[in-house]
């Protein structure tokens, strides 16, 4: 019971409180690209969550094999990119071999769900703060879900942000930044923000 409670708490923390976009701003550029097309969000969500989950598990084992602390931290990106690339290629090969229709569908955006700041950032953050295997797994899934949540919240107002009623100088990207800013201001409330007085 205690374990389940802890896992749920950790999942809530990584999805909502430490949300990839709203509290760390990781992967905002990808979010702008993905939020354009509502149809892809579901598939994108599954692929990004899958990749963060697998990759963070592999990061756990990589941390056991290579010592990336201290001065050798400069080689960490190399190791992480190799892991990411391996997962990416193996996934594509697997899909191509066993589910061709899915492969064709997913090919358009799988590179966006693998090579973005959210995934790579997750590897860095997780390897910095997590210790046990469950931590790695839960946080890996949580980062993916949190990213998808942010994409979803942005996509549902996409046509409002690009609507004719919005003044021209703010239409599109500038307003999206303000929108994300206001939302991350509200999500700030979750991190137990207590003023210093």
């Amino acid at each position: 019971m205690e374990i389940i409670k802890n896992i749920l708490l950790a999942a809530f923390t990584s999805v909502i409180v430490e949300n990839t976009i709203f509290s760390r701003a990781l992967g905002t550029s990808t979010l702008i690209l993905v939020a354009r097309n509502r149809k892809n969000i579901f598939g994108f969500g599954i692929s990004v969550t899958y990749i963060t989950a697998v990759v963070s598990v592999l990061t756990y084992f990589a941390g056991k094999i290579f010592d990336l602390s201290g001065d050798s931290y400069i080689y960490a990106p190399l190791v992480y990119i190799l892991i990411l690339g391996a997962v990416y290629i193996l996934t594509l090969l697997g899909l191509w071999r066993f589910a061709v229709t899915l492969f064709v569908k997913i090919r358009k955006y799988i590179h966006m769900s693998a090579f973005n700041c959210a995934v790579l950032g997750a590897m860095f953050i997780i390897s910095k703060y997590c210790e046990t295997f469950t931590d790695y797994l839960v946080n890996g899934i949580g980062v993916g879900l949190g990213f998808v949540l942010a994409v979803y919240i942005t996509a549902i107002v996409y046509d409002r942000i690009y609507s004719e009623k919005v003044p021209y100088s703010f239409r599109g990207f500038p307003l999206m930044m303000i929108y994300i800013g206001i939302l991350s201001m509200a999500f700030w409330g979750f991190s137990g923000h207590i003023a210093n007085y």
Binding site: I153, R160, K165, V166, Y179, A186, G189, H193, Y197
Partner: protein, 341 residues
Amino acid sequence: MVSGNEKTEASMMTDMLIVLLVLAAVSVYYYGLRAAILIAITSAVCCLTDFICIKLRKKEAQLSDMSALMTGLTLSLMLPASAPYFAAVTAAVFAIAAAKQVFGGRGCEIFNPAAVGFLFVSLCFPENILTYPGYSNTFMSMPLDSLVPSDVMLRPSMMRAFIATGSSPAPLLDILVGKFYGPMGTGVLAVIAVAAVFLVLRRTVSAIALLSEIAVSGTAVFILSGFDPLSVLCFFAGGMTLFGMIFLSCEYSTVPKTKSSRFIYGILVGGITVLLHYYAKAENAVVYAVIIAAPFGIELDKRALSFAGMLNKKGIFSKTNKSVKHMQETLDILEKNNEEK
């Protein structure tokens, strides 16, 4: 409007303004001249910013548009009576410029402007906005300097104490009449409750959304506080919870338009408020909750409308059937929206 076809926007605005003015009068009664000045400054700056933004966008400003005044009044009632004037001005400018006009002006807001403005100043100047002076009934009790001098006792709100101890720090009567440390006009539970009944009966505030919000959050707090009714009242009075539920979440331009989505939206706002209150120990949980729930309200509306459109295409419900009257109204809104586009 689904919940009142005969109700015009202007009459709803008048209702809201009447209630807000009553609350403003109460706060002037408690905090004296300084409260009046703060309310005047915030409202005036809101209207002025609105006017300037409309002119910058090269649109026609309408005199009948009272929404900026309403934002200003709502915003000022959420500030403490000791709030510095520059904070009030910042809140007003930010609310109108960054949360209203940028999104396309009246009727196009995604977030409630007053909530955004308040949140911004409370994060910018927490030591000024989240500490409160004591009430008194004399007119000149508060000094009129922008920053109140240090001899005025400023304290964290009652909500902080409630969060820290878990039980109500003030007796029942004080909570009902708003005699505790807190924002100027959001703590007088008796007046706000009467206002809520008035607004619901006048169909200005959506009964479905408001009641589901109150039911969800009330029940949750009742259970989590160990079945203590006083805690529930304290939760609604402190931290502007009831005030926020009426004037921030159910304000007609940002509340969802269909009944089913209003119901779910209400549950969402209530749930997030309780979550923030207990998990994150946020003081003004409802303000955060209103902003987080706002995009979902838009999405719920879209879902409900497309669902109704689908049913209509298949001819599942006929116009004579009274039980699907609500669906019909939904469809009317859908058609109206299409015409506008």
